[in-house]
């Protein structure tokens, strides 16, 4: 036995001695207090109060927000809630299978008491969510998100702790080096000029992480509305009533195909993962990425010394408006079949409390979804200030959530990969798949 272990260890040592060893690198000093907010004490200082005695009730709270800082903040808020009320909260982040797990639980009618609705409060979860119109925060929902979390009868389904305001993120240092002024990018032609300039300095114009297929879906979701639906009511109506002519989709495919042929994307656009992309932007090797502003926060975690920003989606031609997408980011709804309606209600009210909501939205680096709460968006603040009140910028919902039948997000992700893989019949494959899937799903509605 020992002899075997020794032999295996020996084999390992042999391998090492053949290749050599690396030296210990210097580690950047990552002291959490540097970030200004000490995660151990939520604003308001709950720990000074006497802890409430346990009620024996534990709420199950499923959330899908990644990143250590946000996750820690959520756990901390839940702890404080338990201290104040004696109601336990088990906050669980199930990982990248979040929506699959939620679907299984809906199918079995076994929902958690409270969960994050990630953009689907109305379209997918409404059947299972408690209307929130009677809650104290219902009158404070920010107008720009209200339309997307209420149904046509005005029923409110989720508490928007913060909200997405999404454009294309970029590394300012790379653009500066390439001689591009981000504010000059008004149309896709301007954007393509910028890409050419970035390519000229030997860096990647557009970074993709296609192994995580949602990044491909994002790309389609970002580009499509500017070409198809923005300021085009005929197409909007056609998409919604099922009469859309999918030959029009060629415009979107051609645009992305053109970028691909111009080598704007990273070589491993289809096989890299999202985090590789974030690293590329953080290390100033790539300029643009089609991802929401939370991507910027991730970039700063890896390299606090770089300079990031985001621009609205360019317009398809001169004279048309640029656009930004708004949607849920960290939004929480409660089950309409929970065993603990009172406790869940208290939890939602607690999350909506000004200090708690501000603390969470700040940790996410996003504007708050409640108009009585201001969050500190840190280094992103100038961008939110610049775009939020700019009437020249169209505020649009996410393309797939608004115009495509539920379930077609999958087709956007897959066809995005087909285009970038550059296979010969990509164009017809993509348009056919979109058309077939659309007709299939429309027929079922």
């Amino acid at each position: 036995m020992m002899k075997k272990l020794a032999a295996i260890a020996f084999a390992g040592v042999m391998a090492v001695s053949m290749i050599g060893c690396s030296q210990a690198p210097a580690e950047p000093n990552t002291d959490s207090t540097e970030n200004g907010t000490d995660s151990s004490s939520v604003a308001g200082g709950g720990e000074q109060k006497e802890a409430a005695s346990s009620t024996g009730v534990t709420l199950e709270f499923l959330y899908n927000l990644n990143g250590e800082a946000v996750s820690d903040a959520i756990q901390e808020v839940c702890r404080q809630f338990t201290e104040e009320t004696g109601i336990g909260v088990e906050a669980v982040m199930p990982g990248s299978n979040f929506s699959d797990i939620m679907k299984t639980r809906m199918a079995s009618n076994q929902l958690p008491d409270v969960w994050t609705t990630h953009g689907w409060a109305v379209a997918r979860y409404a059947e299972y969510l408690e209307p929130l119109n009677d809650f104290s925060f219902a009158s404070h929902i920010a107008p720009s998100i209200e339309g997307q979390i209420t149904d046509e009868n005005g029923v409110l389904y989720t508490l928007p702790i913060d909200m997405d305001l999404t454009g294309i993120i970029y590394n300012a240092n790379v653009l500066e080096e390439a001689g591009v002024n981000a504010d000059d990018i008004q149309t896709w032609t301007d954007f393509e000029d910028a890409c050419d300039k970035v390519k000229a300095i030997g860096k990647t114009p557009i970074q993709m992480g296609g192994k995580d297929s949602y990044t491909l879906g994002n790309m389609m979701d970002y580009v499509a509305p500017t070409l198809i639906t923005n300021e085009n009511e005929a197409n909007q109506n056609a998409l919604l009533d099922g009469s859309f002519d999918w030959d029009n989709w060629n415009i979107v495919v051609d645009k992305i195909n053109q970028w691909n042929q111009n080598n704007y994307f990273n070589v491993d656009a289809v096989t890299a993962d999202f985090m590789t992309g974030i690293s590329a932007l953080a290390s100033e090797q790539a300029a643009f990425m089609f991802t929401s502003a939370s991507g910027i926060t991730e970039t700063y975690v890896q390299n606090p010394d770089t300079e990031m920003g985001f621009i609205p989606m360019p317009a398809r031609e001169d004279g048309l408006q640029r656009s930004l997408m708004t949607g849920e980011h960290f939004a929480v709804g409660m089950s309409n079949t929970t065993k603990y309606p009172e406790e869940a209600k208290m939890f939602l009210e607690f999350l909506a409390r000004e200090d708690i909501c501000a603390f969470l939205a700040t940790k996410c680096g996003m504007p708050s979804g409640l108009d009585n709460v201001t969050s500190d968006t840190g280094r992103l603040a100038p961008f939110y200030d610049k775009y939020a009140n700019d009437a020249a910028i169209l505020n649009i919902p996410y393309f797939d959530r608004k115009y495509l039948p539920s379930g077609m997000w999958n087709d956007l992700c897959i066809t995005g990969g087909t285009i970038l893989s550059g296979q010969a019949d990509a164009k017809t494959t993509v348009v056919n798949q979109m058309r077939t899937s659309y007709e299939e799903k429309k027929a079922q509605e």
């Binding site: 032999a7 199918a107 296609g210 192994k211 096989t271 897959i414």
Partner: protein
Amino acid sequence: MKKQHRAMINLFYVPAIILFVVFVVYPFLQGIRLSFTNWNGYSQTMKYVGLKNYIRLFQDANVKTALINTLIYGIMSTVIQNILGLAYALFLNINFKGRTVVRTIIYMPVMIAPLIMGYIMYFFFQYDGGAINDILIALGMEPADLLVNSGAAIAIIVIVNSIQFVGVAMVIYLAGLQNIPAMYYEAAMLDGATFWDRFKHVTLPLLMPAISSSTILNLIGGLKLFDLIMALTSGGPGFSTHSLSTLVTNQYFSAQSAGYASAIGIVSFLLIMVISNVVTGYFDKKEVDTQ
């Protein structure tokens, strides 16, 4: 043995059969029912659509791709694992110092969960900082994006799966080899048989039971391949590396066509069953022939 005794021992089936009926057969029948609906996978409402899902399935080009890939994953993994596993077994059947170490190390990867193996293998094949590309760069070559080409990606999946699980085939063959009485070889040696003759006329026929179990086991494993594909390519680019089982997941959850996904699941179950039965039947016949 007494007839009564024989009948009585059938009672020993009971616990196993109860588990199978409650936790496999019942859910499986539910799955069959779902395959005739247009269920989206989460709503409390669904409509029966008859055979529509099955008709759609036979016209769906993506199902065809997944079917072909499933057969490639299943058959190629089986072939590689059996040939390599038999070669390893023959090699380790030679008495030399340290062969147990070799045997142990060949079997070790079997103990890594396929999903985790997939993640580890992504460290190898990834373009940016991947271990393979580090070697290519060190040799002065251009780094390659190995997983973008669907042919290469399928080959990589087959090879990784085969190398990981070749230990199982090896152990089965080792066991088979050690059960071949030495006197057969001695007799063959006396007749002046060459190594190849002995392999062909003594080893192979007597290994038939081992070949049969190893083939069936690897075939089922390969046809059901799932985790590794999810970790390496998630079925992409496009639908090009999907197997039937990953396609079921994709259609079930992402595409929200649970009814359709159930139909694909049923068809893939039938496919695995038919293939395994044909192969088992073939080996049963072969074993009878050689006896």
